[in-house]
């Protein structure tokens, strides 16, 4: 292994004055490049800048695509109605690669380079947990649409909010009675082996026990796994219900292999739609799902009793009655989660208006104004349904849908009440200094 051609011989590449000058010039060019421009516009007319931490790539890419579309639709609607405090809203998108380390960097970039007013839009819980300290350090209000319990656990910090989607602990508590009464009492759980999955692992057993049910086995699967059959023998034979929630690029494989393994002689299935988000439930190999049940935050398929607000929201975001992109039936949405983006942006609007928000110097006021919110009425701004908000734990509580797979679509068969999902707060963010 000799270095005949001198590829690694550093002595050959001496630094001349000319190359040094070139480097200087390139550095100067970079400093005036678009990302580095300093805006010196008057505060009053300048747009409110929302930094959108988006899962453009990595295992959350499908969600990222639809969070992006929903955000664009909501911002368009807000701007057409006069913006926030008379100022237009501008969204700046940075890709976090669905990676916690990169997520924290993105928050830093929003704070120091883009100088956004807030950061918003993160879904995957490990990215939220990884980014939250950076947001707290920069005193940057951070509005996530993540569904995990980490915000409400009060383990993060005062700058992190989740006002647009109910957390997993509340979802589970609201649905456990239905599972125990209608699906079965002996439950085996299959969940992704990271933060979001651990919420399911930790909160289902007590919630089910309170209803006379029991979790008899828990199977954790890495979210990057690509083959699943090898995990299924761990499912005990006496299982009455398989409670499944998977995420990542291989969710379709997961459900398909579950079907191959069991065929028609399967136990009852209760899944979080996460296991099939952005995936057509009529894909070949998924016929065995017929008759099984799913949690949905907001229904994918248009329901007969949809409110006018829900219909308007679906039209604005651009999804058809089957929950796929208008014009491309194969591009299935993440309808069960993405409504949270729409609703969170309207919460930000309300809080900024309450706070008389003018610019980054008012970030603390914005935090207090958000904490003062208590209720969001169902309507065009909250099409998924009414919600309450607990300012102490920075978490909202809403209704949940349980849908049945029937005739190749998901029909809502049960809606929980807000009260079903309320629990004792585990702490109080408002006691933390701003």
């Amino acid at each position: 292994m000799t270095d005949k051609n001198g590829f690694f011989d550093l002595s050959k590449t001496g630094l001349t004055r000319r190359t040094a000058l070139k480097g200087l010039a390139a550095g100067a060019g970079l400093a005036v490049a678009p990302g580095f421009v300093r805006y010196s516009q008057a505060q009053s007319s300048a747009p409110i800048k929302i930094g959108f931490q988006c899962h453009r790539t990595g295992i959350g890419a499908a969600y990222g695509r639809w969070y992006d579309r929903t955000t664009a639709a909501a911002v368009k609607a807000i701007n057409e109605a006069g913006g926030i405090n008379g100022r237009p809203v501008e969204v700046i998108i940075e890709d976090d690669g669905t990676d916690p380390g990169r997520g924290a960097e993105v928050v830093g970039k929003f704070a120091t380079q883009h100088k956004t007013d807030i950061v918003y839009g993160t879904l995957f819980s490990h990215v939220v947990i990884g980014s939250a300290p950076a947001a707290g350090e920069a005193k940057m209000p951070y509005f996530v649409v993540s569904e995990g319990h980490h915000v409400a656990s009060t383990k993060l910090n005062r700058y992190v909010f989740q006002p647009g989607i109910t957390d997993v602990k509340s979802q589970i508590q609201a649905m456990a009675p239905w599972i125990a009464a209608n699906a079965g009492k002996k439950v085996t759980q299959i969940f992704p082996d990271f933060a979001f999955g651990y919420d399911h692992r930790d909160y289902l057993p007590p919630a089910l026990k309170a209803q006379g049910g029991e979790v008899i086995a828990q199977i954790a699967i890495p979210p990057t796994e690509s083959s699943f059959t090898k995990y299924f023998p761990q499912i005990p034979a006496e299982t009455e219900v398989i409670y499944h929630v998977m995420v990542g690029p291989a969710v379709l494989t997961f459900v398909k292999e579950l079907g191959e393994f069991y065929g028609s002689s399967r136990p009852q299935l209760f899944g979080f739609i996460d296991s099939l988000e952005a995936t057509d439930i009529n894909s070949p190999g998924l016929e065995f799902l017929d008759g099984s049940h799913f949690w949905e935050g907001s229904p994918r398929y248009a329901q007969p009793d949809d409110s006018a607000a829900q219909k308007a929201y679906r039209a604005a975001v651009g999804i058809d009655d089957n929950g796929a992109a208008v014009g491309d039936p194969k591009d299935v949405s993440t309808a069960a989660h993405m409504f949270g983006c729409w609703e969170t942006l309207y919460v930000v609007k309300k809080a900024m208006e309450d706070a008389g928000y003018k610019g980054p110097e008012d970030r603390a006021k914005l935090v207090e104004a958000t904490e003062a919110l208590t209720e969001f009425a169902e309507g065009p701004e909250h099409p998924q349904g009414p919600k309450t908000f607990n300012g102490k734990i920075h978490q909202c509580f809403g209704i949940q849908n349980i849908s049945k797979v029937e005739g190749g679509r998901l029909n809502v068969v049960h809606k929980t009440k807000i009260e079903d999902g309320l629990y004792e707060p585990e702490g109080d963010y408002t006691t933390q200094p701003l």
Binding site: M1, D3, K4, N5, F7, F8, R56, T57, G58, A61, A62, G64, R65, P222, E225, S226, S227, T229, K230, F232, P233, A237, P249, A250, L252, T253, K256, E257, E260, F261, Y262, G263, A278, S283, P284, G285
Partner: protein, 293 residues
């Protein structure tokens, strides 16, 4: 589940892994054996095969088997062509210098991956299997397509073995592998053999990817695991040894299947890595490799 059926399932899963792994690792091993080039971009060529399989099978309407068969033929050819171009434009210009080609193939890894991300996107997309027969065993159901992967892979391995040991092309390749300078002195166009071997190695990875994609979906990051496992297999089996590669692939695949079914997939990876360390310590040339001359 009882022990017997449990073991059967584990073995089946392991054999599917082995089948795909053997093809991928064989490609890596051939390229190293003949050219002495460590192709770090091998996993990305695998990924490219899967992505092309998706593109081809969605472009062809009608029965899913038609699209799949077209992908099985076309995707490896296209990947082979891309590898050929890369070999001409990059590796040859570096005179196949071992250190430089490692750096160059790392560069190729990122270029291919980012191009796939740009043009194919970050989504995982399914390819429909050519048939979806479900084999019903008394204890569990199993995908018939998965079993056909094992058969297809075995056929391809036999074909590769035949080409390498029973044809003139194989003879030329082996001569080049044994001693490229002498081979050149005897009039073997070593240069063209290198190009052909690099393309063949890429095609083996691509065909493995086409076989696996109906059960695991095409995704731009899917090349990482196969690359790592291929290296493990090639190190255990002995670089450049066809027999060693196949034996090591079956060994790693089966142990991965059985350990991950009975214990956990993480433990399977730990044990495979430990095995590599043991082989490197006690038999650096690999189980079937010959000591360097």
């Amino acid at each position: 589940m009882h022990f017997g059926p449990h073991l059967l399932l584990a073995a089946l899963e392991g054999l599917v892994t082995s089948a795909v792994l053997a093809l991928t690792a064989l490609g890596l091993s051939l390229v190293f054996g003949v050219m002495r080039v460590v192709n770090v971009a091998h996993g990305e060529l695998f990924m490219l095969g899967a992505v092309l399989a998706w593109a081809i099978s969605t472009a062809i309407s009608g029965h899913p088997a038609l699209g799949f068969l077209a992908a099985l033929v076309l995707a490896p050819l296209i990947v082979g062509l891309i590898a050929l171009v890369a070999e001409r434009l990059v590796l040859r210009r570096l005179n196949y210098n071992p250190e430089a080609t490692i750096v160059a193939t790392i560069g190729m890894l990122y270029i291919i991956q980012q191009l796939a991300l740009t043009f194919y996107g970050p989504e995982a997309r399914p390819v429909e299997p050519p048939f979806s027969y479900r084999i019903l065993l008394p204890w569990f159901g199993y995908s018939g397509y998965k079993l056909s992967i094992i058969a297809a892979s075995a056929l391809l391995l036999v074909a590769t073995w035949f080409v390498l040991t029973r044809t003139k092309i194989g003879l030329v390749m082996r001569a080049t592998q044994y001693d490229s300078e002498t081979a050149q002195a005897f009039g073997i166009p070593v240069d063209r053999v290198y190009a052909g071997v690099f393309a063949l190695g890429a095609m083996l990875a691509a065909v493995a990817a086409v076989l696996i994609v109906p059960i695991s979906q095409a995704h731009y990051l899917m090349g990482q695991d196969p690359l790592l496992l291929s290296f493990i297999v090639v190190i255990i089996g002995g670089l450049g040894s066809l027999r060693g590669t196949v034996v090591a692939a079956v060994l790693i695949g089966l142990s991965d299947g059985i350990i991950s079914v009975f214990f956990s997939p993480t433990l399977a990876k730990i044990i495979a890595t430990l095995l590599v360390a043991m082989v490197l310590v006690f038999r650096p040339q690999g189980l079937f490799g010959t000591a360097s001359r």
